[in-house]
Amino acid sequence: AQSVTQPDIHITVSEGASLELRCNYSYGATPYLFWYVQSPGQGLQLLLKYFSGDTLVQGIKGFEAEFKRSQSSFNLRKPSVHWSDAAEYFCAVVWGDTGRRALTFGSGTRLQVQP
């Protein structure tokens, strides 16, 4: 079955430090990739997406992600974390070649930011 894996359930970083959240997906010829953020008490907000082209995509709030087909990965990065980035982050994939249009989500990574 097609799946999305976020290996880190919980990550703690210091404010100002760099951040990388990992996401791996099972093989599919045409993955469409997304990162969403869910702040406490808030709905899910799209951070960025990758469909094709440049494998390094920029998103909102200073986030970026790099698609690596050879590693089936789409890791999310930020050079300098702010306290307001504390939230839960979800990676999601649609496999464009399957005809299924529902996003499959990873189980999420909860980010804690220390002052």
């Binding site: 899910l44 997406k49 649609v94 496999w95 464009g96 529902a102 989500f105 189980s107």
Partner: protein, 115 residues
């Protein structure tokens, strides 16, 4: 502009009762999704509507769960004979187009508690 609206925002019900959860998608969005988010878990796909096509019900966990979408707009998710394990946040999302590469816009969810 108006986003995806879900009601009620919170619902407490007794075990065995039926509940209905409502979703108003963004106007003009042809695709509508229901997801479930249990405590500490990722998002679990439930059902997907696309225009006038037959819905993809592959994610519904049991026959107690059903959903309809009237007039290609508002959707209602019904859970019959609720059980405690149904307690979760039920999220609705919509998007435009039929391709897999347009992002989902999420509502803030309905938090269901079954006592």
């Amino acid at each position: 502009g108006a986003g995806v609206s879900q009601s009620p925002s919170n619902k407490v019900t007794e075990k065995g009762k039926d509940v209905e959860l409502r979703c108003d998608p963004i106007s003009g969005h042809t695709a509508l999704y229901w997801y479930r988010q249990s405590l500490g878990q990722g998002l679990e796909f439930l059902i997907y509507f696309q225009g006038n096509s037959a819905p993809d019900k592959s994610g519904l966990p049991s026959d107690r769960f059903s959903a309809e979408r009237t007039g290609g707009s508002v959707s209602t998710l019904t859970i019959q004979r609720t059980q405690q394990e149904d307690s979760a946040v039920y999220l609705c999302a919509s998007r435009t187009g039929t391709g897999g590469n347009s992002p989902l816009h999420f509502g803030n969810g309905t938090r269901l508690t079954v006592t």
